[in-house]
């Protein structure tokens, strides 16, 4: 409610500012007939900027400090003897009751003697502070507007100023992407370093046993955090996924790009790309309830023991997920190979498949390798399929028919529902995340570089 009032008032104020700036500039232009540097809209916009910035500043300060101030005042309304008898949960309940009273909403149970008055006081305080904030924001806004009005003269380069403001805003937008990367690196590194203060990095990177203990079992033993079982699981599943995705994806791309009639291509390509749009949780569920049991029964039928949740299950389904990734990237890359190369081979009497295998694919190879690396990076970072279908068995072994665990699964297991980040049990998630980030970063950078070079080669 309050937010709406503030927003409405702000809009009215800004509209007024624009109107004033605009009309002042109009008057200038008509009154002394002087050449005004910028058009009236820019003067209006400038007035809006000068009004908005101080008002927003006040609002920001309010948004930052008001919860603390409100809390402090509410606590101060509780008599000291009662206050000292309350623990944290009780205090919160008490504050909730007072707030309910203050907002005119009823509470259940007996009212304590101080509550009625306290509730009313808090209500008054909230209203008063809100009004003061509103007045301050409006006052500063108006002040800014008046200053802007005084600055509006024929010579004022309003357009340049507004455009500078716009480009500053755009730069701020671009900074978000940078800040995201900085944020990722900073948070992963700091938390991972905290983890390494508990666990020797060597034990982490070269340990062969993954057996974290939960903090409740005793402070003395934090458990073992060996990365290798997770890493092998991750690589095994990614490997299986690539074994499925690369042949199918690449051949599908080749067929659609070189053989299929245009109308076939127009139907089949979007259908395959549907696979890319399906959320991974759906693949995970599919792997868990359909593919896993099927593989297990199939294994039984041929006398092979396959776990329902295994590296094979997760890898197969992940491969299906990656097919459209490989096929559309490869398709793009095949399109980039110049037609003249194909013609050259046909002109020599090569069959279509000879042309593709001997000329087209070698020419497209760098691009396809890039696509392959991007796909690997996606496979090792994939989470939900492996969470559901890999079996969560962090044991170092090489049999793809048995359950395994991966880096991403362990991140989910270690961090879900725990956010106090005090022990190695939860901090290890960041060390794992850092490992994952570095692995994918290397793959991505190399892949993007190769693909870029490839594109430039034929441009």
């Amino acid at each position: 409610m309050n937010t709406l009032i503030v927003a409405a008032l702000l809009l009215v104020l800004l509209g007024l500012a624009y109107q004033l700036g605009w009309s002042k500039s109009r008057n200038l232009a008509t009154a002394n007939g002087a050449r005004v540097h910028s058009r009236s809209q820019y003067h209006g916009s400038l007035a809006v900027l000068w009004t908005m910035l101080p008002a927003l500043l006040v609002l920001a300060v309010w948004a930052f400090f008001s919860p603390g101030v409100q809390h402090w005042y509410a606590v101060s309304q509780i008599p000291t003897d009662i206050l000292t008898s309350l623990n944290q949960t009780q205090l919160n309940q008490q504050l909730q009751r007072l707030n309910d009273l203050a907002s005119g909403y009823g509470v259940t149970g007996e009212l304590q003697p101080f509550e009625q008055a306290a509730g009313e006081n808090i209500g008054r305080f909230q209203l008063l502070s809100f009004l003061i904030m509103l007045a301050a924001a409006a006052g500063l806004g108006v002040l800014g507007l008046m200053l802007a009005q005084r600055r509006i003269t024929p010579r004022l380069r309003a357009r340049t100023e507004v455009e500078r403001a716009i480009s500053l805003l755009l730069i701020a937008c671009s900074a978000v992407a940078i800040l995201t990367t900085v944020g990722i690196v900073a948070s992963l590194v700091t938390e991972a370093l905290r983890f390494f203060s508990f666990i020797n990095p060597l034990d982490f990177f070269f340990g062969t046993v993954w057996a974290p203990r939960f903090s409740s079992t005793g402070a003395g033993d934090a458990g073992q955090y060996g990365l290798l079982p997770l890493l092998t699981g991750t690589l095994m599943i990614s490997g299986i996924a690539m074994l499925v995705a690369v042949p199918v994806g690449l051949m599908a791309a080749i067929y659609l790009n070189q053989y299929a009639h245009r109308s076939v291509r127009a139907v089949v390509k979007p259908i395959i790309e549907i696979l890319a749009g399906i959320p991974t949780i759906v693949y995970g569920f599919f792997a868990l309830v359909t593919v896993g049991p099927f593989l297990r029964d199939f294994g039984n039928a041929i006398g092979l023991s396959i776990s329902a949740t295994s590296a094979l299950t997760a890898g197969l389904v992940m491969g299906v997920m990656i097919i459209p990734f490989i096929s559309s990237l490869s398709d793009d890359i095949l399109n980039q190979v110049p037609r003249s190369l194909r013609d050259g081979a046909y002109g020599l009497g090569a069959t279509q498949s000879e042309t593709i295998r001997n000329v087209l694919l070698p020419a497209a190879l760098p691009g396809i390798v890039g696509a392959f690396l991007l796909a690997v990076s996606r496979a090792i970072g994939e989470t939900m399929i492996v969470v559901l279908a890999a079996g969560n068995a962090p044991i170092l072994r090489g049999n793809p028919l048995e359950p395994v665990s991966t880096i991403t699964v362990s991140i989910v297991n270690q961090l879900t529902g725990d956010t106090d980040f005090t022990g190695p049990q939860s901090l290890v998630a960041f060390a794992l995340g850092l490992t994952l980030f570095i692995m994918t970063l290397c793959l991505n950078v190399v892949a993007l570089y190769i693909v870029r070079r490839f594109r430039e080669q034929y441009e």
Binding site: H261, R262, P338, S340, L341, R342, D343, G344, A345, Y346, G347, L348, G349, A350, T351, E354, N358, V359, P362, A363
Partner: protein, 278 residues
């Protein structure tokens, strides 16, 4: 450099002196086209082309751009098959054999009719592998030394061997434009074709490289039937014995090069030669 410039001059001086024009007519006919039409989808690109192409002579197709000369050239080795929506009508016969017959193998046909393209298009492989590619896929070499011999002789015939003999294993894409085009010619020769089609082979090259290619074409006609598409009348005059003029998808006039250039029968041909149609 001076030597090359001299070469250009010599070529120009030898216009049409290499062969008596009547010789070309006396040669046996290798290729016969009867009423060839091409449609790209709904658009008709060629209207009933009929032409005879003599053995071991150079026939040039001239005409303004978009006139259908390249389209017709691509009919001769069925390269239009690779374009979706292209439909070819009429008959083209190589040694009396219909190349559009249902039981004819396109792969075999293209081994007999080689092609050189507008832009040099060496494969991203070594120079050696570029030339060896055709013999390899067609199984023409029985041994490694056989293959070496084919590669060397093809490069020789294309006049490139001396320039590249020390770097046969380097990528073909590293050569200069003119060298690349001669590599493509060597690549086509290596299959041992009977006919070589050339689609504006010099349009992407500088004058010196052009002169070298023209000289090469003149030499090659000793052993091959050559059809060359060109947008340059001078080039047609310099290298060919027979000339066909195309305009708006029609074959307007054909005849001995000298006759076409000095004494065209058709008004449109005359206009084109006089530079009145672009």
């Amino acid at each position: 450099m001076d030597m090359l410039a001299g070469k250009v001059k010599t070529t120009q001086q030898t216009v049409n002196t290499a062969m008596n024009p009547t010789d070309a007519l006396e040669r046996p006919i290798r290729l016969t086209a009867q009423d060839v039409t091409v449609h790209y989808g709904a658009k008709q690109a060629l209207h009933g082309i009929s032409i005879d192409i003599p053995d071991r002579a150079v026939t040039s197709f001239i005409g303004p751009s978009g006139c259908g000369k390249s389209t017709f050239l691509r009919c001769i080795n069925r390269m239009n098959d690779t374009i979706e929506g292209a439909k070819v009508g009429g008959t083209i016969k190589l040694d009396g054999e219909d190349i559009y017959a249902a039981d004819l193998d396109v792969v075999e046909l293209r081994a007999r009719i080689g092609m050189v393209f507008q832009k040099p298009n060496p494969f991203p492989k070594s120079i050696y592998d570029n030339v060896a590619y055709g013999p390899r896929i067609h199984g023409l070499a029985r041994s490694k030394s056989d293959l070496d011999e084919i590669v060397v002789s093809s490069l020789r015939k294309a006049g490139l061997f001396e320039e590249v003999k020390d770097r046969l294993n380097e990528p073909g894409t590293g050569l200069s434009g003119g060298q690349q085009q001669r590599l493509c010619i060597a690549r086509a020769i290596a299959v041992g074709p009977e006919v070589i089609l050339m689609d504006e082979p010099c349009s992407a090259l500088d004058p010196i490289a052009t002169a070298i290619i023209e000289e090469l074409v003149d030499e090659l006609r000793e052993n091959y039937t050559i059809v060359i598409v060109t947008h340059s009348m001078q080039q047609a005059a310099r290298v060919s014995q027979r000339t066909a003029f195309f305009h708006l998808g029609n074959l307007i006039e054909q005849g001995n090069t000298e006759d076409i250039f000095t004494n065209p029968v058709n008004k449109q041909t005359q206009d084109y030669i006089m530079g009145r149609i672009g």
